[in-house]
Point group: C2
Chain length 344, copies 2
């Protein structure tokens, strides 16, 4: 690798020369130090403008060992929920003059490890970890380097690590209430991937929601999926084979609900005439499918803000256990739910 060729990059020293001051003064002007005579500052600012100077943050990063960058590790860009979150997270970061370093794991352990390594190399000031099913060993280096971490839905905090928990229970309860109001008594649930933590959390939340409104939980109406369309489709087909069918289906996320809709269409089961469907996430595309999806919406912006808050807290209190924040969810009623019609 050869050193930068051509004329030297425009830097503070050059600006300083042109302005007839020292680079320290230029630095002070740029950072708004009050210790500079207003006249000098004005003069320097004029030169800055004329030269179109853009400070090189690499210098600062090197000096302070901090990069003003936050890492974000997501499992998958294919689920629209993540891009929507990324967008919001990025916006919140930019508001605070921070950068985003994005990594996707594809739910693969080696990818997680290499993502973590890249985060470390780039000296991120914190990491948001949305990859749920991770082995703690993979993110060990993050702990060692004392990087503030926020997990999503891990519902545990430790030294330097906060967590943002989505309020599934509240959301599902609203949905169950809505369905109950429409006369539904037999509500099925299609969850996430069997055996992983976040799936358990969602299923539990569903059960509690049922309980809260006094409906009975029927294990025959439960299936697992894979948080994706294919899983929702397959699970719904399986559910349709039952003698006694539920009259409404709730799902672990919107993509699963899309699969459910597709399976029902294919099987000529009318939605919402014969079966009501409720998703979870509130992705924008929920409004694009037919029928438009009734779903529990959780605001990506709220999650993003909570993440930043937890990260900031951990940064300021490296040795304490991090914040455990909760983000609410609310029902968005669209067209995939209706009065129950089938009598049994």
């Amino acid at each position: 690798m050869k050193p930068a060729s051509g004329r030297p990059r425009l830097n503070m020293r050059i600006v300083a020369q042109r302005a007839g001051v020292s680079s320290a003064t230029v630095s002070r002007v740029i950072n708004g130090s009050p210790a500079v005579k207003e006249e000098t500052a004005r003069h320097v600012r004029r030169i800055l403008e004329k030269l179109n100077f853009i400070p090189n943050p690499i210098g600062t990063t090197l000096k302070y060992g901090r990069s003003n960058t936050y890492g974000l590790i997501v499992p998958d860009l294919t689920n629209p929920f993540y891009p929507e979150f990324i967008f919001n997270f990025e916006e919140v970061l930019i508001e605070n003059d921070h950068e985003l370093l994005l990594a996707t794991t594809q739910s693969s352990e080696p990818k997680l490890v290499s993502s973590v390594r890249r985060m470390l190399m780039r000296h991120v000031d914190g990491v948001v970890l949305m990859a749920s099913e991770f082995d703690t060993r993979s993110i060990e280096p993050l702990f060692e380097h004392r990087i503030p971490i926020v997990t999503i839905d891990r519902r545990r905090v430790q030294e330097g690590t906060g967590d943002v928990a989505i309020d599934f229970e509240g959301g599902y309860r609203q949905a169950v209430l809505h369905l109950q109001g429409l006369g539904h008594r037999r509500i099925g649930f299609i969850g996430g991937i069997e055996g992983i933590r976040t799936s358990q959390i969602r299923l539990k939340a569903f059960q509690k929601a049922l309980q809260a409104v006094g409906l009975t939980y029927d294990p025959n109406f439960i299936r697992y999926g894979d948080y994706r369309v294919a899983g929702g489709d397959a699970a719904m087909r399986s559910l349709l084979k039952e003698q006694r069918r539920p009259t409404a289906i709730m799902t672990a996320n919107d993509l699963t609900a899309f699969g459910v809709l597709r399976a029902l269409h294919t099987s000529n089961v009318g939605v919402p005439s014969q079966m009501s469907v409720v998703g979870f996430d509130g992705i924008l595309l929920g409004d694009a499918v037919y029928p438009r999806l009734t779903t529990v919406t959780v605001s990506p912006r709220d999650i993003a803000r909570a993440c930043i808050k937890a990260l900031d807290h951990s940064k300021a209190n490296v040795t304490e256990r991090g914040l455990l924040l909760s983000v609410g969810s609310s029902l968005t009623v669209r067209e995939s739910t209706a009065q129950v019609r089938v009598r049994i």
Copy 2:
């Protein structure tokens, strides 16, 4: 901002001390220089492992003014095509030990300007610009700093700037051929945003495809959308008001096709029984809607590779005009197209 606190970060000097060599030797070992005695190298490697040393690329960046980072500017994370591209682009970058710096513009000029600024600050080695409708003035700084640029579908190249063009015409021709084979003669088109360049390109490509197979172009069957669901929906509703209707609809992208499907559902027009629909992009969710969308697929991975190729070329030949590459597309037949049934 206070300097890094606590114990100094693990760096090459510390490794060198532990290994009883100089930091220069450590650097040589890490970079695989052959000028190190194998015995020494082995010893250093052992220490490296033991200390779990991760080199800090900031030092290198500072020294060389290059960051091994590529910038990617996309208009929107809401259209799944972009996340799918981002994922592929990131993968290709990581293969080559590069980093990704992502920015979204939301089709807003100020956001583009600030994105460009961030790219500059971070010393990106090149920029992929997917924000189609930009004023050249906004990216002027990129030119000034001699940053290699690749645009998508701008179909013009200049000094240091390459372009990757999607082969709309070839893709649309396959689609038209497919529809023609199913007996369709009256094919409508719902384009992108009226007046912007990429919309023109797509509409022209559609016209040429029609021409190529000997079908007539009927302006009454043409509408504009907005590259999103809402636009496709509205345009389709408008089209349905025509006395003579087309029997098939092609669209500027898949999201538009989703809107078309929704409008047709709502208007009780059967797909594909009464109307065939063809999208463009080949996003994964095209397989999730009902009916599954027949579409023209363009491989995000191919686009990503082409971008890197063009970027590499421009990097090596800063003063030449960049490469003008083309990426092919191919028809994916699913369930939204069928034999024409309606006789007029």
